[in-house]
Each structure stands twice: as C-alpha cells, then as structure tokens.
C-alpha cells in the first residue's frame, strides 16, 4: 500500500512538472511514437527526461486504466489459463530463440508445483514472465529512466541505449523477471515481444503454446479474448500485495509455496527449471 501512495504522489508532481498529461491523453500511434522517439533520441538528453516522464506519468494513468476508466488506451495483457497448461516448456524455448536470451538467463520459465501424499499427489504448472505491471516497481527505482512503461500499449520496456546496468530494477522486481544481460551489460526482461506485437504478431510464447494456455490481447478492449476470459472466470495475479498491479492474469493458478505457512511439514516441491533454483 505504501508503495501505491508513493506512486500517486510521484505521478502528480512529475506529471505537473513536464506537463505530459494531455500528450498522453491523445495516446499517439506507434509511428508517431517512433518519430517522437527519434527526435528524443537525437536530442540525446531529451530522450531520458521524456522517458522518465513517460515512466512516471503512465503509472498513475494505467492504474486508472486498470479500473477501466480510460478504455481508449491499449494495455496489452496476458491471461494464462493454467488449466490448459501441460508444462511443456515450449514457451520457454520459443522465448529464448525469439529474443536471443543468453544461456543461464530467462525472460520466461515454467515452474512445476508438486504437492500431496501418495496417491493423492498433484503437479501443477505456473508459466512465468514479466507482468508488465501497471505500477511497475522496476520503473519506480530506475535512476536513468531507461526502463519505462510505454504509454501507447502499457508494455514495460528497457531502453538499452540508456540503461547503465545498475541492477536496481532487478532488486525491485518482486517477480524476478529481470536479469543483467552479460553481453550488453544492460538489463533485459520480457517485453511482450514488442518487436512482434508492434508488427501485428502474437508474442512468440503465445504462438507456440501447446495447450493454448497463454492468451494475449488488449485488456482495455472489452471485446478482446482476454477481457472476456477475465469477465467469465475468477483469476488471480502473482504477489498482489506488492501493489504492482500485474497485467499477466492467471486462471486457476496454484499459489502454493514451500515458504507459505500452510505448507509447513507437508510435501511440496517447486521446480523453477532455470538457473535460479528458488523463487524470489
């Protein structure tokens, strides 16, 4: 909660400072954005200020968006219907190749949660990726504005021309969704396959999902498949109490965790299938 208040105040002050509000209301198309970012880019210094602005202003606004006040705005989102997930890891690998993720790091991974006593044992699957939060903890702490939430589609991106690799955002992300790319020296994470989505293509993990458990779309469009699924099903997000307002929604997710008091002295095994053997 404390977190959110911070975010609010942050929005107001910065929002006023660079008077970005109405620019945002118009929500320009990608191409405008690109030229915009060109100007910024050439402006060198300009860019980061704008970025910082973007980052901070969007925070407030997408939180509005989440309460469906600004439906004109695009917020890409993913619904993961774990009932359909067979834990096949196709998403993990698709992501690795689509985004040249170095060995030992992951933008996406699939956790297995195995629990119970023979013969009443169950194994469930929890695909993980960046939540493209509406109030991204990572953005709050970024000192350079390299990571920010795109106003045109709510995707949280890292600009690797600006990122200094201070790793503050890695610390701040409750979901361990970020890693320092050893090649570029900048931080990387799932960006909803921005380079595909901006070309009208589904993200790579969605396109290969064997169970069609990953559904992608605009959560602010009531007619989109994601909106419908969320309307028709009960769903959860991960670590709600972190106040990040994720845009990755889970249907029937198994939130069981060994550190959860409920599972004291009961068999539960979480396998992350990546270098980090433990959850954050």
């Amino acid at each position: 909660m404390r977190k959110n208040r911070n975010a609010e105040t942050l929005t107001r002050s910065v929002g006023r400072r660079n008077g970005d509000q109405d620019a945002y209301e118009k929500s320009p198309s990608i191409t405008e954005q690109q030229t915009l970012s060109r100007r910024n880019f050439l402006a060198g210094l300009g860019i980061t200020v704008a970025a910082a602005g973007t980052a901070t202003t969007t925070l407030g606004n997408t939180s509005k968006a989440l309460t469906k006040k600004s439906n004109h705005q695009v917020q890409w989102a993913m619904v993961i219907d774990t009932r359909r997930c067979i834990g096949c890891h196709a998403c993990t690998v698709a992501c690795k190749s689509e985004n040249d993720v170095p060995l030992g790091y992951s933008r996406s991974w699939v956790e297995y949660i195995e629990k119970g006593d023979f013969p009443n044992v169950d194994r469930s699957f929890l695909p993980r990726l960046c939540n493209q939060c509406s109030q991204p903890a990572c953005v709050d702490v970024c000192p350079t504005g390299a990571t920010y939430k795109r106003k045109e589609d709510g995707i949280v991106v890292v600009d690797d021309d600006i990122c200094i690799g201070c790793k503050y955002c890695i610390q701040a992300c409750p979901y361990d969704a970020r890693y320092l790319n050893p090649i570029t020296g900048t931080v990387d994470k799932c960006d909803f396959c921005l380079h595909r989505v901006t070309q009208g293509l589904e993200p790579s993990c969605v396109n290969t999902c064997e169970g069609r458990a990953r559904i992608f779309g605009n959560v602010n469009d009531p007619a989109s498949e994601v909106s419908k699924l969320l309307a028709q099903n009960s769903y959860t997000v991960l670590l709600k109490e972190m106040g990040t307002y994720p845009n990755v929604y889970y249907i029937d997710a198994d939130h069981a965790d060994p550190r959860d008091f409920l599972y004291k002295d009961r068999y539960i095994r979480v396998t992350t299938h990546r270098k980090e053997k433990l959850r954050r």
Binding site: D140, V141, A146, Q171, P174, T186
Partner: protein
C-alpha cells in the same frame, strides 16, 4: 547460498565507505564548530574533512565498477545518471553525491590551503561550509539506507528504520575513522603535510575534551544503534508474511545468524560500547577524568569500523537471500 547475489561486495563497500565518509564529515564539522580555538578540535576536524572525500570517492568508484554497463566496457555510461532526475532513490542519491563533492571539496580545501590554521582567512567559509557539510553528511548517510529501503520486493530492507540504522552507524564509524586517523598520524609522526602547507603549529589544546566528547557521543550512538537494531529485528520478527519470513536469515539457524549476532552485535556494538562506557563513566558522573588511551584510540575504532562494515554486509547480502513468503 543457492541464489546469485545481484549486488555484491562492491555495493557493500560503497554503502560502508560512503556512510563512514559522511560520518567523518559530520564529525569534522561538529568538531570544528565547537572548537572555540582549541587546536586539538581543529586538528580532528581537519582529519575528518580531508578523509571524507576519498572515502566517499572510493565508495562511488566501487559502485560504478559494479555497473553492468561498466563491466561490459561502456566506461562512461553512468553519465546517464546525470541526464535526468526522477524520484528513484538512486537518481536523487547520485545528484546528492554530486553536491556532496562540490561542497566537501572546498570545505576540505579550507583546511589544506596555506594559512595560519584556526583563525586564518578561510575561517568564515570554513564555518559556513561546516553547516552545509552536516546537512549533506546526514543526507548521504540516510540515503544509503533509503536506497535499500525503497523496495517491497526486498522485505528485509523495506523498513523505515533501516535509514536510521545506517545514519547512526555512519556517524559512529565516522568518529571511529577520525580517531583512527589521529592515531595513525601520531604513530607515523607524519608531519610533512603540516610542514609543506606550513600549517600552524599543531598543539594539543583541549585534546582530552575533544576525545571525551567523541567518546561520549560514540557511546550514546552505539547505545542508540543497539536500540535500533533491536527494533529492526523485533518488529520484523513480530510481524507476519514476507518480512517475518525474511528476518529468518538473522534468526538462529538462518544463513547469516553468525555474522549478524557475533559480528555486528557483539564485536561491532556490545564490546566497543562497553569499553567506552567504562572509560567515560567516571567523567560522566563527575568523579574522575576521562583518559584517552591505547584502547580507545585504537581498539574501539577498529571494532566499530569492522562492525560498521559487517552491518552493511549482512544487510546487503541478507536482503537478497531473504525471500518472499509466497507467490
């Protein structure tokens, strides 16, 4: 340890040195402002002023060294910190440090430049800058705590009292390092700078007062720090959820229980605290004189400094291995 540390020793070193440097500056300023012409006060103030900058400087270099961009060969990518400002503690911190250097450098200079010491032509500036230094010293010390405190994702750090803890520890280590320097200079009877800048004779007026004041202050600080540590620990332990889970790293059987209890609490706080208390007690209750001897000159400072480092270590490392209580 099963996870990799995102922030390693360089960051520990940075938080420690920046804190100690800031502490040294605060010590220096307060010594100066209460010197009333006593050269011992002035000398200690000078040491504080002069060592503060390099300490913080080295700290900052360590931080830059830890940057992914730096390690990937983009030596000057960190400049981006100064192309923008936002409410990220690190952004504010970077600007703060910039200010710190701009203010501390001239302040230190006023001690170095040739002059007749105490009441030379730099005095007014020295005194004015002293006030600024106190403000900046406290800000930097506090910021080192805020930097870590700002993240719910790190329940161990995400506590308002962490900044307090770092502030107190900073000042206490600051005092320690000043005393240590004094001892070191004496030991090596290192007088070439004085001769070179023809600093005015370094007589020892008010030496016992000065050291007494520092000892008393330090005793109080250590007491305060123990209190803060206690609150930090107890509240974490008494709450529920992520924080309660996180504090387990320091509880018996926790990964860092040893370094925390033995290193930080016993070696870094209890022992030096007790020694100093015993030393200052007679003077404190007004029957007897405080004697600044080998133990308080050397042993205490070393213990305090070690404790200060271990504190940053267990907090930085602990915060990263202490995990959230669920998903």
């Amino acid at each position: 340890m099963e996870q990799e540390l995102i922030w390693g020793l360089p960051v520990v070193g940075y938080l420690f040195l920046a804190g100690m440097g800031a502490g040294a500056l605060i010590t220096s300023a307060s010594m100066l402002l209460r010197s009333h012409g006593r050269s011992a006060f002035y000398r200690l103030a000078r040491y504080g002023a002069i060592i503060s900058l390099p300490l913080v400087g080295i700290g900052v270099f360590l931080l830059v060294f830890e940057l992914g961009s730096f390690q990937a060969g983009h030596w000057f990518r960190w400049i981006n910190l100064y192309k923008t400002i936002n409410l990220s503690p690190m952004s504010i911190g970077s600007w703060l440090l910039l200010l710190y250097f701009f203010a501390t450098a001239p302040y230190a200079l006023t001690f170095i430049l040739p002059g007749n010491g105490l009441n030379d032509k730099w005095k007014i500036w020295r005194d004015r800058l002293a006030y600024v230094s106190i403000a900046l010293g406290i800000s930097v010390a506090v910021y080192t705590g805020v930097l870590l405190g700002a993240m719910p994702a790190r329940p161990l750090w995400n506590s308002p009292i962490l900044a307090m803890l770092f502030l107190v520890s900073s000042i206490s280590t600051g005092i320690a390092v000043v005393l240590f320097t004094d001892w070191l200079v004496k030991l090596l009877n290192w007088d070439w700078p004085a001769r070179y800048f023809n600093w005015q004779n370094d007589k020892n007026e008010g030496y016992s007062d000065a050291t007494y004041i520092l000892a008393v202050t330090d005793t109080l600080l250590i007491g305060l720090e123990l209190m803060v540590v206690f609150l930090f620990f107890m509240y974490a332990h008494l709450t529920v959820g992520h924080v309660e889970e996180a504090i387990k790293v320091f509880q018996l059987g926790g990964e860092l229980a040893g370094p925390f209890w033995i290193g930080v609490v016993v070696i870094g706080l209890l022992i030096p605290g007790l020694i100093e208390l015993i030393k200052v007690f007679p003077a404190l209750i007004g029957n007897g004189q405080y004697v600044h001897g080998g133990i308080t000159m050397l042993l205490v400072p070393i213990l305090v400094i070690t404790g200060g480092f271990l504190l940053r270590y267990v907090i930085v490392v602990g915060g990263q291995i202490a995990r959230l209580a669920g998903i």
